[in-house]
């Protein structure tokens, strides 16, 4: 066996190294899983991690990476702020859905008016919707001390119900011959979120994600609020001593993450998804939790992690069509990644000493 010894100062080298180690370990374990499923592990890993970047269809698929990474980045950046402060918003999926619905509703309400103010208004509406949905657990936590984890999660189920009502009821396309789903935004220029440069996958959501990353980085590094967020997460009593209001922080962090998740939903519904449909949400809100941790709750780290996660989505789809890999295998793969990451995280705060020997892993 081995014993653990707390490092006096957290290791900077391991803080950067652990995500890469986790990815490597996941590839090995994932390969074993794929082999167990009767697939050639090397072919699968290559299909997932190499082909979308450098393979035959890479030109198209690279764009898809941006499309998938943008919502993940937007949501994960927001979640990371809360996670750093010890505020666990795990209902981003719900905030994403509600943001998409409110934003879409604004556009659909004025259909078919053409005005350049419509899309900006929808963006505000999307952020607002996500913010409101996140304010529910935030308020309940600050006023009644209710656990925000459970409430935000319960609200995902509620949001899903509202989504199905929206798709089949109040936002249904009146010209859709009774099929569920709203009007398509791709044929409504004033409210659409098209590719800015054809074939690149670049849409307004990608731009927003990049802005969010820079904004969050500045907030955390240079701004007092960012410092307070970190302080509250690491040492709540010290934060109180420093004059940080825990309630204010809960409201701000939940609000920011909700608004960002709502934005992600809005950009998705108006762009890549194209319409409100019953199964419009595909779990970005949950995957973003993995992304946030994989990026070590650091905004630029999150950007890289989101790209990697997008790669597993895009590559996973390829592996599904070309090699018959079950689509759920990729979710297992993503879950494993988070497990490995949490396991190797230990290295940045502890030294491992092997019993009996003087060897140690530094």
């Amino acid at each position: 066996m081995f014993t653990l010894e707390k490092r006096p100062t957290p290791s900077k080298a391991w803080a950067w190294g652990t995500p890469f180690l986790a990815v490597a370990l996941t590839m090995v374990a994932g390969g074993l899983l794929f082999a167990a499923l009767g697939k050639d592990p090397f072919a699968v890993v290559r299909t997932i991690f190499w082909d979308p970047l450098f393979g035959e269809f890479a030109r198209y698929l690279r764009g898809q990476l941006l499309v998938k990474a943008a919502p993940l980045t937007l949501i994960a950046v927001g979640l990371a702020l809360g996670f750093r402060a010890g505020i666990w918003n795990i209902g981003a999926e719900g905030q994403y859905i509600i943001g998409a619905i409110t934003g879409a509703a604004i556009g659909l309400a004025v259909y078919p008016t053409e005005s350049r103010w419509i899309f900006p208004l929808m963006i505000l509406g999307g952020a607002f919707g996500g913010w409101v949905w996140a304010m529910i657990p935030a308020l309940l936590r600050t006023k009644f001390n209710t656990n925000e984890i459970l409430v935000s999660l319960m609200l995902v189920y509620v949001a899903e119900t509202i989504l199905s009502k929206a798709a089949t009821g109040f936002l249904r396309n009146p010209e859709g011959m009774g099929f569920p789903g709203s009007r398509s935004f791709s044929s409504y220029a004033a409210a659409g979120n098209p590719e800015l440069i054809a074939g690149t996958g670049l849409h307004w959501g990608v731009v927003a994600a990049l802005i969010a990353v820079i904004w969050a980085y500045v907030l955390l590094q240079r701004h007092l609020l960012g410092y307070q967020i970190k302080l509250a997460g690491q040492a709540p009593r010290a934060a109180r001593f420093a004059g940080v209001s825990a309630d204010r922080l809960v409201m701000l962090c939940m609000g920011m993450s909700g608004a960002l998740a709502g934005l992600a939903g809005l950009f998705e519904v108006t762009g890549p998804a194209g319409q409100i449909s019953i199964d419009f949400n595909v779990g970005y809100g949950f995957t973003a939790i993995i992304v946030a941790f994989l990026g070590r709750l650091n905004p630029f780290g999150i950007l890289l992690a989101a790209l990697l996660m997008a790669l597993t989505y895009v590559g996973g789809e390829m592996a599904a069509t070309n090699l018959g890999l079950p689509s759920s295998a990729i979710r297992v793969f993503q879950g494993m990644l988070l497990f490995f990451l949490l396991a190797v995280d230990l290295l940045s705060n502890y030294r491992i000493r092997l019993a009996g020997a003087a060897r140690e892993v530094r």
């Binding site: 010894e5 100062t9 240079r222 701004h223 007092l224 609020l225 302080l231 009593r237 010290a238 001593f241």
Partner: protein, 511 residues
């Protein structure tokens, strides 16, 4: 006189990375002897007793118990061999009752009903009455210690280890405890008594072993030595007693009136109508046994707990309803007892920790953005002025020793030049040199015209630096009195006497 050796230690060593906690420690304890283990904080006393109790294994050396090799792999084995220990911290469960707490410390406890009877019987037999059904979280510090002692006594120990037992007791309670210990020794139980309080050791112990930096530096018979001689063996140098200026105090700087506030923690003590004033240039010492409202008083003064406006006033202006940063702006700085996690964030660097409370008075932020360059300068300044031993200001707070971190925390507050400074347990767990330094810094601040409030459980410390003394007892504060001419008995009575502990008739009960 050839004595009957119960426990013998030979060449015990234990090394932790970067520090040799024990280095070739040898000594022996006779049967029925009260043996003192004397040393400063960090001298290696705790590590040594943990080895005797089976919590830690020595790297080298051997122990014998009644002549037989003794190497307990775990506390259970130590208990089976007749070794029991009363911990200073970390061994009671607040949400469980007395009987359950006692049962957890025994290997084969009798059924609950029978155990409750035994607890009553033994606790009264030794003059330490206890109600087995009470929740431990509701007990006073002295009563909590009784739970620990009873837990040990029920197992009929041959050797009882007591780790700093009097730090939580009033002088009267100390007398009762000593009575119990003498009774035990007379019945043949050996006691290993760990302390750094010399007068107590002189009063109680038959033999003493003195540790410094993990090594035995001397043994003596305490009754034959003066406290000063033992202190010099313990510290290894002559100590400087802080100098006091003895100036006339100025006008009232801090006034607290009818301050009542509920404790934020489940088993805390609420403050009830606290009144006092502190003048410029004056040091007020607030004594009291742990858990009588010290934490709450600090929180109410630092602004972490808010109260009606006029309950706390600075220069006559009510600030009871403002938060910590507003109060800093108004001139109050505070240093809480718990260094890691309250006064400082363990995983953050000293620079970041300098920002923690220094942002307002030192102007370290501009329109919400942090001026890291100025913050670093401030941190450097504190490290230099207060002689904080650290590789650099980028080091995490948790990497510093207790004394160095305390110097940093106190330095951070003092260098903001507050008009009122409030500190809780400023030298707790700090070595003697650092403690003297910190006390001097507080006196210097008072001389510079600040009102200083020192909350401390160390009566000697208060007597050394305070002009006036008040006692905190169950959330109530006594009328402050001048420290000059105050006797230890008077202080004891002010601290709440024996906390309702009756000196029950001591009959000889064999546990």
């Amino acid at each position: 006189m050839a004595r009957d050796v119960l426990l013998g230690l030979e060449g015990i060593s234990k090394t932790y990375p970067g520090v040799k906690a024990n280095d070739g420690v040898s000594f022996s304890i006779g049967a029925g002897e009260v043996h003192a283990l004397l040393g400063e904080n960090g001298a290696g006393k705790s590590t040594l007793v943990k080895m005797i109790y089976g919590l830690v294994k020595p790297d080298e050396g051997r122990m014998t118990l009644r002549g037989q090799p003794y190497a307990p792999p775990e506390p259970r084995a130590a208990r089976a061999a007749g070794v029991a220990m009363v911990f200073q911290h970390f061994s009671l469960f607040d949400a469980l009752n007395v009987a359950e707490n006692v049962a957890l410390g025994m290997d084969n406890p009798p059924p609950m009903r029978a155990l409750e009877g035994r607890i009553r019987e033994v606790s009264e037999g030794y003059g330490l009455p206890l109600d087995p059904a009470r929740l431990v979280g509701d007990l006073s510090a002295g009563e909590r210690q009784r739970v620990e002692i009873i837990r040990c006594l029920l197992q009929d120990p041959k050797l009882l280890i007591m780790d700093e037992p009097t730090s939580v007791l009033t002088p009267q309670e100390v007398d009762i405890l000593f009575g119990t210990l003498r009774q035990l020794a007379a019945e043949g139980t050996s006691i290993l008594y760990i302390s750094h309080k010399l007068e107590e050791i002189k009063a109680l112990c038959d033999e003493a072993t003195i540790l410094r930096r993990g090594k035995v530096v001397g043994t003596c018979t305490p009754r034959e030595k003066s406290a000063r001689e033992m202190a010099e063996m313990m510290v290894g140098a002559t100590l400087n007693v802080p100098k006091r200026a003895g100036k006339e105090p100025g006008p009232v700087a801090l006034k607290v009136q009818e301050l009542s506030v509920a404790s934020p923690s489940a088993f805390g003590t609420s403050l009830k109508g606290v009144n006092f004033e502190v003048r410029q240039g004056e040091v007020l010492g607030i004594g009291g046994v742990a858990g009588n409202g010290q934490d709450e008083l600090l929180l109410a003064l630092s602004g972490e707990l808010r109260t009606p406006r006029d309950t706390v006033q600075i220069h006559g202006r009510g600030i009871g309803d403002s938060g910590p940063n507003d109060r800093r702006r108004d001139g109050i700085c505070a240093a809480p007892e718990e260094r890691l996690g309250h006064a400082a964030a363990p995983d953050m660097s000293l620079t970041e920790n300098a920002l923690l409370s220094g942002a307002v008075r030192r102007g370290l932020t501009k329109r919400g953005f942090i001026d890291w360059a100025r913050t670093r300068d401030f941190a450097e300044d504190v490290v230099r002025t207060f002689d904080v031993r650290t590789p650099g200001i980028g080091t995490a707070a948790r990497a510093l020793s207790g004394g160095n971190l305390q110097k940093f925390v106190l330095g951070r507050e003092i260098m903001q030049e507050p008009e009122v400074i409030v500190v809780n347990q400023p030298t707790w767990g700090v070595d003697a040199a650092a403690a003297a330094f910190i006390r001097q810094a507080l006196l210097n601040r008072a001389e510079a015209g600040a009102a200083v409030v020192v909350i401390s459980q160390d009566i000697d410390e208060i007597m050394e630096i305070a002009d006036r003394f008040a006692a905190l007892n169950e959330g109530r504060l006594s009328e402050p009195v001048p420290t000059q001419g105050l006797t230890i008995d008077q202080i004891g009575l002010m601290l709440g006497g024996a906390h309702g502990m009756h000196q029950a008739e001591v009959s000889h009960v064999h546990a």
